[in-house]
């Protein structure tokens, strides 16, 4: 399969935003094995990386990066030294930087929620 310019753009964008080496990933699956929230994801973390490797921009619609809360369980496991949460953040950022927020304050009932939850939620989900 040959990558087109637009496919390669995705790899370059994610690598630049994350500072990680996407092609280092050899699909061992340790990231997905260590992730506590794969039940809630539509793509496993290693599958998300594979989709970015082949430049599949549909990954930008995936639920997976928005379920990932950067707990770093995968980060301490990756045998290639990739910071997978940074790759997740890069995928989120591509959406956020196109001026599309993942959250709308007006729809949220924030009563009773601690500030630490609100600040981190909005830091991760707004551009």
């Amino acid at each position: 399969m040959k990558l087109t310019d637009s496919d390669q753009d995705l790899v370059a964008e994610v690598e630049e935003l994350s500072g990680e080496n996407l092609y280092a990933c050899f699909q061992c699956g340790k990231c997905s094995a260590s992730c506590p929230f794969t039940d809630e994801m539509d793509e496993l973390p290693n599958q998300l990386i594979r989709r970015v490797q082949i430049g599949d921009r549909r990954i930008l619609q995936s639920k997976t990066p928005w379920v990932c809360a950067s707990c770093l369980s995968c980060e301490v496991e990756c045998p290639k030294g990739n910071d997978i949460p940074a790759i997740m953040e890069a995928v989120r950022e591509i959406t956020l930087r196109s001026n599309v927020d993942e959250t709308d304050l007006r729809d949220l009932d924030t009563r009773g929620l601690p500030e630490i939850a609100l600040v981190s939620n909005f830091r991760k989900k707004t551009g």
């Binding site: 935003l17 950067s70 301490v76 953040e89 601690p114 939850a117 600040v119 981190s120 939620n121 989900k125």
Partner: protein
């Protein structure tokens, strides 16, 4: 009394006020006065993972500048998230002079950050500077027979570059629990994420996860769980209580901040503000019985 510079962060002034007050009390019993920074701002709570955006590093770096301006080389934290964010930003700018220069030239009201401040978590103070024998010394109410599950969560031990213990087999909380005379409980969820800020918009995920973590601790015999993260506390305490109501499941497991356990062992539970907890820990701590006996 030795004075140490202390960065509270937002939660310790509000939802986690019992964490702050118990920490100030417990520290005094150890001969330490926690001196709150005169100027501090939000750390950002989550460390920015994008390589190109330095704006999100300004919050944490400003706090390091304030510590420097107040003339301190070390600043101590209680909240795991503040600790993680401050340490990671500090590491970033210490290892990358170009980024530090950019940040310094952007901040015009503060002096330049020289990269010489060290961030330490309260547990590092206890373990590395005071030692467990010193922590044991003020114990008035030994917590004998109390089974305590340590909950590390994510931010104390990950990533390894800044973690205060081994990310796979940490022991600092077990040693802490033992030093207060209680029994540490081993269970397989001590370092598994509670769901973090997903509690805002994906509440159901967090409810299930809180149920999983706390019932695992209960099955291992825990009377209570300890943490040093206000977000973990909210999820394990409030969300656990909601989970139990929804599932009509077993007995709740109270969740305490580390310094609340110290305050109880040192004989003062008033500073703990237990009335702020969703699950009241007083029964598990047998404090009610003790109070009745004293009467």
């Amino acid at each position: 009394m030795e004075e140490l510079l202390y960065y509270p962060g937002c939660s310790l002034k509000d939802t986690a006020i019992g964490f702050e007050e118990s920490a100030i009390y417990a520290s005094r019993q150890l001969g330490i006065e926690l001196k709150e920074m005169e100027r501090w701002n939000c750390c950002g709570t989550v460390y920015s993972l994008t390589a190109d955006n330095l704006m999100k590093q300004l919050g944490p770096v400003r706090n390091l500048v304030h510590a420097q301006e107040e003339g301190y080389e070390k600043v101590y934290t209680l909240c795991s998230m503040c600790d993680n964010t401050l340490k990671r930003s500090n590491r970033l700018v210490k290892n990358d002079p170009e980024k530090l220069e950019k940040i310094n030239s952007f901040m015009d009201r503060e002096e330049d950050y020289l990269g010489e401040v060290t961030v330490k978590h309260y547990l590092e103070l206890l373990r590395d500077e005071l030692g467990w024998d010193a922590v044991r010394e003020p114990v008035r109410e030994p917590l004998k027979g109390l089974n305590v599950a340590p909950y590390y969560g994510c931010m104390l031990t990950r990533p390894k570059e800044i973690g205060l213990d081994d990310p796979h087999n940490p022991t600092v909380l077990e040693d802490f629990i033992s030093s207060l005379g209680a029994e540490p409980v081993d269970y397989p969820y001590h370092s598994e994420c509670c769901g973090s800020y997903n509690t805002v918009e994906k509440k159901d995920i967090v409810l299930k996860q809180a149920g999983k973590i706390t019932s695992s601790a209960a099955a291992a015999g825990a009377d209570l769980i300890i943490t040093s993260c206000p977000l973990c506390h909210y999820n394990l305490d409030t969300r656990q209580s909601e989970y139990i109501r929804r599932e009509n499941s077993s007995k709740p497991v109270p969740v305490l901040y580390i310094t609340q356990l110290m305050a109880v062992a040192y004989g003062n539970s008033d500073v703990c503000k237990f009335d702020k907890h969703a699950i009241d820990p007083r029964e598990a701590l047998a404090l009610e019985n003790k109070a009745l006996k004293e009467r």
